[in-house]
Symmetry: C2
Subunit: 373 residues, 2 copies
């Protein structure tokens, strides 16, 4: 018997460990990893339980342990005492996705998987391609034909097979799933895989270790599919269960006004993918996130809020972060700072609260023409 | 009295601490930082002495503490037992230069410097621009008009003033120095500044801490100006002086055949910058490195060798590293692996020796058209 099973996060039905099962066979909701004995969840509260059988991911490219740095200029500009950033862009392929991919591909390697497919127009595709190269697993990455050239080039450099699919973003998902059925490949979806979330929960363990008694009151995250958001919350809950923490930060989910299914749902407003417009924050342009309900659950449980930010505010913060903090992030990450500004204005964050912002992706990967100073 | 002075590394003449003094006033050779009391050199051998007055660099963007990862595919391919890489590309602006810049700009901030100029066609320019943004110091970066567009764009994003200079690489140096004289700016040269080397020596402290009893027998570094090479050696010497290490690794300096002043000098052959040809390893294309004599001294003192590698071997290793290890490095970093292959072939490295390769820069910054798989 394995030390975990896959549990439906809606109806709680249990499923045996597998790379193939990506949704509940009863109700269709996404699955989470549940460990069988709670004692196995990190004896000391320092080391997270993981769905593989080595102490650390066997397929590692050096992900995690990203720096936490103070943001003096942001603090002065917003009238906020000592805000901090966790530089997730300093992961091996330039984004936080590497945390999730390291766990997912380590599991794939244990299962003896030889070939996978994934759909992504950006960071997840590059991350899966890199770890697949490390693992010696054949990777097929499906992306919209309109995806940014620099990101597709990075995916290709790792030796993955890229498939450009005409039509909307969803067409790439459909094509990847069809290809998996036809070719008998595993669909290694960063949005659906429960193993991916196990990897992103390491974010919380690091925050607890790096910040200690100065644990943030608020963590601000740009949210598309929400894998970092949900994973980090799971990590904090594990740390509390293990007695290593007595509280968790409020988790705030920032979206672009252009694509805001979660911010709209949080505000009790309707929103459909057809309402989506173009945004420079490509990493959070997800019209129908499959784990939306889980994101809303985390917002409620943590006491956080979700807000949506305008394109000009994203552009402005993108330039400000580079020119006043020396942090060259993706526009997607800049959206988090635009969101922080709104949270302060609305009183959700007070000037003396401790704030940590997740800077999720490297600007080198996604430089808009407007960003050049 | 300060806790250090600047000492000529050729005639040993002492100079008072200053950002303006970049060469010995007697013999013109470059300067090094020398601490006044040896007791101040890291009491425990764990924390390096530094030319500023805070425990860590005040101008930090989260540099250093880069991961060390095993290279299984490289080991299999070369018949080498367990080679390792230190991923210097996971520094805040995507290259090892951030170690040197953090120290240099922290000193600049203490001296109250308000504006600097620097000449660089790539990584150093981006690094100086980012830390200058953090420090609130005005930066002017001079680069050849032919410099890669992506690197110049990154420099501009940080809000630095870029100056494109027609003519050879040396013309940008001359223009930067002339601008400093005219405008009364500090010439913050990563090649000449003794403070820059104090930053790069942290590489050695981390290797000693991360690898412990498995300290490498060999460290393989791509060398242009040699700031990482010289700095790392200085770090190892400090650790030995403090009793924290009893030996240092052999330091090997890899160059491209296209621009090989150090490899030629090591082999006792003549070479002039006029002999230089084009190379995809732009980070080590330095025809007349001002600290060449110091690099040769480190080679001799450590028992290392310098070899030059061909363009096809750099291209081939660039693709191999991405496709078999999931490491997307700059061509400059790939040259180090091409060099390692030569060192093994020539018997300078034995199959069971412990080898660490410095992966100095991120491939995203400098992707040649040939690299796409």
């Amino acid at each position: 018997m394995s030390h975990y099973h896959l549990a439906c996060n809606k109806c709680a039905l249990e499923h045996p460990p597998s790379m193939e099962t990506l949704a509940c066979i009863s109700c269709g909701a996404p699955l989470d990893v549940r460990y069988v004995a709670s004692a196995e969840i990190g004896g000391t509260g320092r080391i997270p339980a993981m769905p593989f059988h080595t102490e650390s991911p066997s397929m590692t490219l050096g992900e995690g342990d990203t720096p936490v740095v103070p943001l003096e200029a942001v603090g002065r500009s917003l009238g906020l005492y000592n805000p901090m950033a966790k530089l997730e862009y300093l992961n091996p392929t330039g984004s936080f996705k590497d945390r999730g991919t390291a766990a997912m591909m380590s599991v794939a390697k244990e299962f003896g998987i030889e070939a996978i497919a994934e759909d992504s127009s950006g960071n997840a595709g590059a991350s899966v391609a890199a770890y697949a190269a490390k693992a010696g697993i054949e990777a097929h990455i499906f992306a919209p034909a309109s995806a940014p050239q620099a990101k597709m080039q990075q995916i290709g450099v790792y030796g993955a097979h890229t498939h450009a699919i005409d039509g909307p973003r969803e067409a790439a998902t459909d094509a990847a799933m069809a290809y998996c059925r036809e070719q008998g490949l595993v669909y290694a979806s960063h949005n659906l895989s429960p193993f991916f979330l196990e990897g992103t929960k390491t974010f919380a363990y690091e925050v607890a270790r790096q910040m200690g008694d100065a644990l943030p009151d608020h963590i601000v995250v740009p949210v598309g599919n929400g894998s970092l958001f949900i994973g980090a919350w799971k990590g904090f809950q594990e740390l509390i269960a293990a007695g290593a923490l007595d509280r968790a930060p409020k988790m705030h989910a920032i979206q672009a006004e252009a694509v805001m299914p979660i911010a709209a749902a949080f505000a009790g407003r309707g929103w459909t993918p057809r309402a989506g417009t173009a945004t420079i924050a490509g990493g959070i342009a997800v019209g129908a996130p499959p784990r939306k309900r889980q994101v809303l659950d985390v917002l409620q449980a943590s006491g956080g809020v979700s807000v949506a930010v305008s394109e000009p505010s994203i552009e402005s913060w993108h330039a400000t972060m580079a020119q006043s903090e020396g942090i060259y992030c993706e526009p997607t990450s800049a959206a988090a700072f635009a969101g922080l500004e709104l949270l302060l204005g609305a009183g959700h964050v007070a000037p003396n609260d401790r704030v940590l912002v997740a800077v999720t992706g490297f600007g080198l990967k996604d430089a808009p023409p407007t960003s050049s100073g």
